[in-house]
């Protein structure tokens, strides 16, 4: 195993982590401010990917598609918030789980109705189609590097938004004391819609960027959603910082596990057997890590406001 391969795998893990962060940040923000568990977050990821693929195909420009994905996911988020989600804030988690589960069914089947069952085509923009040469002579895809960069930029942007702006102040107030922001004269309904739309936009953005790497199809949001849950459980629900740390941890563990566990198994069993057994263990690795972290810290690494 060369060091170039190792570096490349670390970058891959980082890229997965950054992508998970975009999903997890929205989930954890929505939970932190509104106390809502949103299973339909993966559907918004799908909406972003479909919007980007469709608009890119119509206009021939990935960048217009990317902008469209942000707009579409944010608009869809706001619409869903106004029609359904805001009726759920005062309900218990059970009702929230069920209603957003119903939303997944509606989104998936509705998307299939609009776009059909055949996966859509979306490719990386030509500007980012190249490679960078890593130390050691190996090459790394520019687009994936760009995802890492964008993810870090979003993380910094979110931090600035929350710690330095008026909107951020209101969000923080909302996290610590919902009655207080009422007293501050903030229109709480609008604030909630904005926060939900922001989370949706982040998910849609992630969906669009990843859509260029994978296949844009119905149901693509569900595996990501569950990984994002693992991320925020590890990081501490409600904590953006926790989401970042958790996302990168999960990204690295998952990537390195898939890469290394079969090789480790191969040291003491046959290659074929090691390949299947190793893959089986690798697919469970993040859940095992989650269980260990929770056994030590039941509220996650960075317990949030609640």
């Amino acid at each position: 195993m060369s060091s170039a391969l190792l570096i490349e795998q670390l970058l891959n893990g980082l890229q997965l982590g950054v992508m998970l962060f975009l999903m997890a940040a929205g989930l954890t923000l929505i939970f932190g401010v509104m106390g809502l568990i949103n299973l339909a977050h993966g559907s918004l990821y799908m909406v972003g990917a479909f919007a980007c693929a469709w608009v890119s195909a119509q206009t021939g420009s990935f960048w217009i598609g990317l902008a469209a994905s942000l707009a579409a996911a944010a608009a869809m988020g706001a619409l869903v918030e106004i029609l359904v989600i805001r009726r759920l804030y005062k309900r218990d988690h059970l009702d929230q789980v069920l209603a957003t589960f119903a939303l997944i069914l509606i989104f998936s089947e509705g998307t299939r109705y609009l776009f059909g069952s055949v996966p859509l085509y979306l490719n990386v923009p030509p500007e980012l189609a190249g490679f960078v040469v890593l130390s050691g002579g190996s090459r790394y895809q520019l687009y994936r590097l760009a995802i890492i960069g964008v993810g870090i930029a979003v993380a910094i942007g979110l931090w600035l938004l929350i710690s330095k702006t008026r909107l951020g102040m209101r969000i923080r107030a909302g996290e610590s004391d919902r009655e207080m922001i009422g007293a501050l004269g903030v229109d709480i309904r609008t604030l909630y819609t904005i926060v939900f739309a922001l989370g949706a936009a982040l998910a849609g953005f992630a969906g669009a960027m990843v859509g260029a790497l994978q296949s844009v199809q119905v149901g693509m949001g569900e595996p990501v959603l569950i990984l994002a849950f693992v991320v925020i459980v590890i990081g501490g629900i409600g904590s953006i910082k926790g989401a970042l740390v958790g996302a990168i941890l999960v990204g690295l563990i998952d990537t390195m596990g898939r890469f290394l566990v079969p090789q480790i198994f191969a040291l003491f069993m046959g290659t074929s057997q090691a390949a299947t057994a190793g893959a089986a263990v690798a697919s469970m690795l993040i859940y095992i890590v989650m269980a260990i972290i929770l056994a030590v810290r039941p509220q996650g690494l960075f317990a949030g406001a609640r």
Binding site: M1, S2, A4, L5, E8, Q9, N12, Q15, L16, E109, R112, S117, V118, P119, L120, Y121, N123, V124, A129, F131, S138, R139, Q141, Y143, R144, V210, A212, L213, Q214, S215, V216, Q217, V218, G219, M220, P223, T255, R258, F259, P262, T271, S272, A275, T276, G278, A279, A280, A282, S283
Partner: protein, 378 residues
């Protein structure tokens, strides 16, 4: 008259065989019409119905239901078709795991099952059944062909499949014929969407070529990422990942990929040309291999129906076994385990007037059966 027959069926179960010749055949088609895999099921249904329509035989009734690619739903529909609709023959399932759920219990309840696609190894060997016919292939066939093809072309191969039975069978099938060196044998997670880690290993492996079996969305994701990664080791695979339904989503990244299959739209025989033209005229798109297999399944049933009464299962099975059809695939006959003996080819993905499609490259196997036929003693 008809109502008398119906009452007889309900009241006296199978004692109606005297009315044989007037008895229509009822076929239950269970296939995937919703969800991510719906494209395959729709082609299956359309290919099958094309043959029925061409035959103009109104003694044959087909009931179709969507399994949503969920095994438990497929089982429920099968039970309903057997118990309430009283079908004679079941068909249409695309996926091996759904077939495993439905086929053993359907044949145990005395119904024919004619497979249009799924062909798990478990049903081809010791657990084969006299009422189970497969009109498509045996799951391993295309992987074996890819292995055989690699023999003359590559020395070192990187092989990869999802970690589930079809994936394990795939790599086993490949290795059954490939004689060179396997540098890496990698199993990915089912439903995995990001292959960066595997691509990095491919780059590092020093292999001459990659053999990968990643059906559906997994293959699309892999091929796009592979093309973007700039790794220039050629990719080969079974035809599933490069059939007509997925090529548009992969896009140019698929160009030049060599894949194994039993049929491509450019086949130069009369049956194939007629079928392709009829399918395009009826549905306005190119048929996929799934449509061909379903078309042949329907042809097989029709050919048997012309010779025997479906209620006389022994005679009907014997008539099916004759495989008296003109398949678009060319030579077609049944092996002792009621799986096809047919030719397998290598195809290459080409751009034909702006549409990506498969062109025939060379024949790899002539009259190829499968590795499990010997174990089938029923």
């Amino acid at each position: 008259m008809k109502s008398i027959v119906k009452m007889g069926v309900i009241g006296l179960a199978l004692s109606v065989s005297d009315l044989a010749m007037a008895e229509p055949i009822k076929i239950g088609m269970i296939t995937t019409l919703s969800g991510g895999g719906a494209g395959l099921g729709i082609d299956t249904r359309d290919g099958f119905m094309l043959a029925i329509k061409q035959a103009g035989n109104d003694e044959i009734e087909v009931v179709t239901e969507d399994d949503g690619q969920r095994p438990e739903l497929a089982v429920q529909i099968a039970d309903k078709m057997i118990q309430s609709d009283q079908v004679d023959i079941l068909t249409g399932i695309v996926w091996s795991n759904l077939a495993m759920a439905v086929v053993p219990s359907a044949t145990a309840q005395g119904k024919f099952y004619v497979s249009t696609n799924a062909a798990p190894a478990a049903l081809a060997g010791a657990n084969c059944h006299p009422l189970y016919f497969n009109a498509a292939y045996q799951n391993d066939n295309l992987h074996e062909a890819a292995g055989e093809y690699a023999n003359g072309t590559y020395e070192k191969m990187f092989i990869m499949a999802p970690n589930y039975p079809a994936g394990q069978d795939s790599l086993t099938g490949f290795k059954r014929y490939f004689e060179g060196e396997v540098t890496n044998e990698v199993y990915t997670q089912v439903g995995q969407t990001d292959y960066a880690a595997e691509i990095a290993q491919i780059r590092d492996s020093g292999a001459d070529a990659v053999f990968m079996f990643l059906p559906g969305g997994m293959g699309i994701a892999f091929m796009k990422q592979y093309a973007q990664s700039g790794v220039d080791i050629p990719v080969t695979g079974p035809g599933f990942s490069f059939s007509q339904d997925v090529l548009p989503a992969i896009g140019e990244a698929a160009l030049g990929v060599k894949n194994s299959g039993q049929w491509a739209p450019d086949f130069d025989n009369e049956a194939s040309k007629a079928f392709t033209a009829a399918f395009e005229e009826e549905y306005g798109r190119l048929p996929s291999i799934y449509a061909v297999q379903a078309y042949d399944a329907a042809q097989l049933i029709l050919s048997a129906a012309a010779k025997a009464d479906v209620k006389d299962q022994e005679a009907f099975a014997a008539a099916l076994m004759e495989a008296d059809i003109e398949s678009p695939r060319g030579d077609f006959s049944f092996n002792t385990n009621r799986h096809p003996i047919q030719d397998i080819y290598m195809m290459e993905v080409v751009d034909k007037d702006g549409v990506l499609t498969n062109a025939t490259l060379e024949k790899v196997f002539d009259d190829h059966g499968d590795a499990y036929a010997e174990q089938c003693t029923q």
